[in-house]
Symmetry: C2
């Protein structure tokens, strides 16, 4: 099954990029861990590592967007959603030895000043996450502009908490960020 090979390359790349970063991961390591033929990488991604990277970003971004949708579903209470989402992120971090954080943050910081195609892919992914969260907040009665600002603040808190938590190997930043974010959402709803 040829389609599987391409998929395995993307999934393996996603896993390695998240853990080691983009430049820290070699293409040989990707094909080896994906049990994929070396030439297949350049068959499916003629643009080489950079094209694979962009695809990995979009794929990981889409998967994480599904997770966001699971919590911030239209009609759900955004305060509960926020609390649960951050608690879930904390639990996942602890379970995976602080490896399974944001799937694209590491790459995003690495490539923002060095690869325009990959930077754009990251920007699109983040924007889609913000849009989803914004919609959920609007559905709960938060005005448009305020909902977007709040969604940005929630996701910024999440991303930053991932940075602090990974470095300190502690879930404390995630809980603190989650509490603050949930309180902000509650405040926005109370108005």
């Amino acid at each position: 099954m040829p389609a599987q090979t391409k998929e395995r390359l993307v999934e393996t790349g996603a896993d390695l990029f998240r853990r080691q970063g983009f430049s820290g991961t070699g293409v040989k390591q990707i094909v080896a861990e994906a049990s994929a033929p070396f030439a297949s990488l350049y068959h499916f991604f003629p643009g080489g590592k950079e094209e694979l990277g962009a695809e990995v970003i979009r794929w990981s971004g889409a998967r994480y967007a599904e997770l966001i949708d699971l919590f911030f579903v239209a009609g759900a209470d955004p305060v509960t959603a926020t609390k649960d989402f951050f608690a879930g992120a904390a639990a996942t971090l602890a379970e995976t030895d602080y490896v399974d954080a944001c799937p694209i943050a590491t790459v995003a910081l690495e490539v923002s000043s060095t690869s325009e195609p990959m930077r754009e892919a990251c920007a699109e992914v983040f924007e889609s996450w913000v849009a989803r969260t914004t919609e959920c907040l609007r559905g709960a009665g938060v005005p448009r502009a305020r909902a977007r600002s709040l969604a940005l603040a929630i996701l910024a808190s999440l991303e930053g908490a991932f940075v602090l938590a990974r470095a300190s190997r502690s879930v404390e930043p995630m809980h603190a960020a989650g509490d603050a974010a949930a309180a902000r959402v509650a405040e926005a709803l109370a108005r």
Copy 2:
């Protein structure tokens, strides 16, 4: 002056690591841009690139801590401090073409799962930032535990906003995060 060479290596490394990440930057590039002799790097840092990396993290962290102190000085109003700090970060981002964000976040995410010495250096730096911010909040009357949680949330917001802002090349996330953080601080003081 021999001390200058070591200092130039650290400063140049800090600049390059922030922009391209740790694995994305070669030692040859560092010594070239620092106009330093190649052998000097291994004279001053016998541990090689990793030791230089750890030193860069601590040095950058100390410099940024000074910046934090400039805003979150004991006795200052934490709400104003928070607002000004985020506004300053946004202005710096825009001025430097979104290069000058957090000096260690990129490296922190890269090395958290691959280099224990560098991960520890990042953890220490973040902890020092949190401690400073916590002290300022306590000085303004916020109870100890709450002050620490709030400080963590503020710094998480900042770090995450850097991630989003760099990827989207926009200061919008920084302003949203700053507004949210300042509101949280105001709420904590009002109690």
